[in-house]
Symmetry: C2
Subunit: 404 residues, 2 copies
């Protein structure tokens, strides 16, 4: 029997207990022994939940109990998760977490500490919720030079964009609906501004490069400016709009960003709708490989956490190598990254077209029967820096979206 | 440095050598040491290839060389692959293979032998080519009760079906084109009759159930009877036609089959076109998880094999548990499996419709503007046994396809 402690009895924490209880036989068979939840740490009380018998309010009994071999950290946030994870690892315990803030900020350090203590620090659920992506990247996509990772990494924004597209609805009303359904937080900033996706692409970039990619260095743009009109134009261009986290390796330099993109209808990420997530990995030998599933949700995320616990059980005396060094990865200058841009500007007369042509040179004009009084076009591939200069010159811009 | 031997210098074998050479630094970094190809076994000579220096025509020097820690078997077929794999494992060497015939027939036995010898028997490339699926199933989807695995497991047939759909072409001409392009074998039987997909769903079923699923027990139907007309009707039904390997767990009993299915346009497998493969796994906690990539091809398949070699390097003294016992898994009676069926029969007058209604009861009729002289309909969900009885009664059947 192996004893574990679960830190945090919120959505994911209660999911972990549920998965271990409901799938008892399967979990134990894969773990090679019985997995037993010995403690649950939470500041709250749960008088009507059977978990009350295992509930503690203090981390000390857990860290001091030599019977506890695996600590599951599902509280979220950097502190006190970081302090607890460090103490657990120093006490010779394995740590599994679903906490993207913790992993993005302290992943390299906790991995090194785990290595030194001959235990494991696993974080499958920190990216893509239930989607197997971290372990496949570290144990399956290992013979490839990774050219690019492109992901729909946030279910809330994908739900909103899918609904805007399917129902021709505007951002504000769909956001409100998502909040009522519990798909979006009361304060939706972390999702809709792309901050959540940013931490996830930072983690994936760190794993792909083997170095520390700081999320603060990643250019991040959310979906709050996307409109119904944008989707109409996208349709004309046989494209859809998705919020993508992108990490590209160009001759050894990593370029990372989060932004909405227009992608072709037959792009491997175009069909991913609703709260689902997907991650497309392009390797120099494998070509495209895609991983798809529920990016959030109690049971799916908890299942990924429990799969980490099972891997700990299979490697109790064995540090499974995960290459992610302290060395900072100097990202490529975002200003030099090249994209095509879809642009809408006010006015649709000849003067406007002359201005567009004189500033942007060759562009591809898009017409949409029921949108008047504006001009829309797609530029050739230009650098981000060039684009900003040109757009400042042209004035009267209504919106822009990068095009893949 | 770790020395490996590659058995077979065909497409995959030369790919393995290429991946190890071209991605030298990446492979060695993940393996934690230099991976060196010490021998290549092939009956042929390759006088103009640098590999000639490592070429041997006999397995004995390999199995007797204690320096060789990993044997890569990429010859295909059960013999002599089976004998070589057994000898290698008994000599304390790890074995990695891309050989689905070997794995489907002898997987359980070789896994047991590897466990006894404290080495590993890995076979990532045997299903889905370059797609990470075996290791994710064994190390990521481990906290779930797997309800169903559904896969597009054969690139040749998916290429043919995609092209038939996109170009309105018939089976024979597309097959000829596929043969000219090298996507289909001169003798295409193993692909187009579903035998290849059958071995792969047998392997996946064995891993999901933990028991031996014999491929001979799996009902298998190919794509040779699919016509242009079927695709026209599918379009009317907002569906496409895919050859699927299906393994379903109904209250603990596994039902497995390979057959063409009409699936909805928004089904997670519907967008998978050309030579790509994809595997959809449905778990009781994860819900749908999908793995997509190149199902064949020299580099992609070789990359998966080399990722197995890397895992051997990381677990040189450690058998990574893969649960697949000798016990035979008694599949559920195929006759009792329930499906909806799309059926075309000769004639389109009132008598024919009366006959259909009297035999099948409630059906959904499908019309296709440019197809005359026949009636097409979709049945309610009925058992396979019932379907055969009814279809024998009705006579004059042109074709049928199961509908999801």
């Amino acid at each position: 029997m192996i004893n574990i402690a679960v830190l945090g009895y919120g959505t994911v924490g209660s999911g972990v207990v549920k998965v271990i209880n409901d799938n008892h036989d399967i979990v134990n068979r894969h773990a090679g022994q019985e997995v037993n939840v010995k403690y649950v740490l939470d500041l709250r009380d749960f008088p009507d939940d059977p978990i009350r018998e295992k509930l503690v309010h203090d981390f000390r009994p857990i860290v001091e109990d030599e019977d506890v071999k695996v600590v599951v950290e599902v509280m979220g946030g950097v502190e006190p998760a970081y302090t607890f994870a460090k103490q657990a690892i120093n006490a010779g315990k394995h740590v599994c977490t679903s906490n993207k803030e913790l992993v993005a900020a302290k992943g390299a350090e906790l991995l090194r500490l785990a290595r030194a203590n001959k235990v494991n620090f696993f974080f499958e659920a920190s990216v893509g919720g239930g989607i197997p992506i971290i372990r496949p990247l570290m144990s399956s996509v290992t013979a490839d030079d990774i050219n690019e990772i492109t992901g729909i990494l946030n279910g809330t924004t994908n739900y909103i964009l899918s609904k805007m597209e399917n129902e021709g609805a505007d951002f504000e009303s769909v956001l409100k609906d998502a909040q009522e359904k519990g798909y979006a937080e009361r304060n939706p900033e972390a999702d809709v501004e792309g901050y959540d996706a940013c931490r996830k692409i930072a983690i994936l970039s760190s794993l792909a490069s083997g170095k520390q990619v700081d999320y603060e260095d990643i250019y991040t743009e959310g979906i709050t400016k996307i409109t119904e009109s944008d989707f109409k134009y996208a349709k004309e261009l046989k494209r859809t709009i998705k919020l993508l986290g992108v990490s590209k390796n160009v001759d050894g330099t990593i370029y990372a960003m989060v932004a909405p993109f227009m992608i072709k209808e037959d792009h491997p990420l175009a069909w991913v709708n609703g709260v689902f997530n997907a991650i497309l990995v392009n390797g120099n030998m494998l070509d495209d490989v895609l991983f798809y599933g529920q990016g959030a949700g109690k049971e799916a995320t908890a299942s990924a956490v429990v799969s980490d616990v099972i891997e700990c059980c299979k490697n109790l005396k064995h540090n499974v190598p995960i290459i992610w060094d302290y060395d900072k990865c100097q990202l490529g200058d975002f200003g030099t990254a090249k994209h095509k841009f879809f642009v809408r500007i006010k006015g649709d007369d000849l003067d406007v077209m002359d201005k567009i042509d004189s500033i942007f040179g060759k562009v591809f004009y898009v017409k949409c029967a029921d949108i008047k009084g504006e001009s829309a076009f797609v530029t050739e591939e230009i650098t981000e820096k060039d684009f900003v200069e040109k757009i400042n010159k042209i004035g009267d811009m209504l919106s822009y979206i990068r095009v893949k």
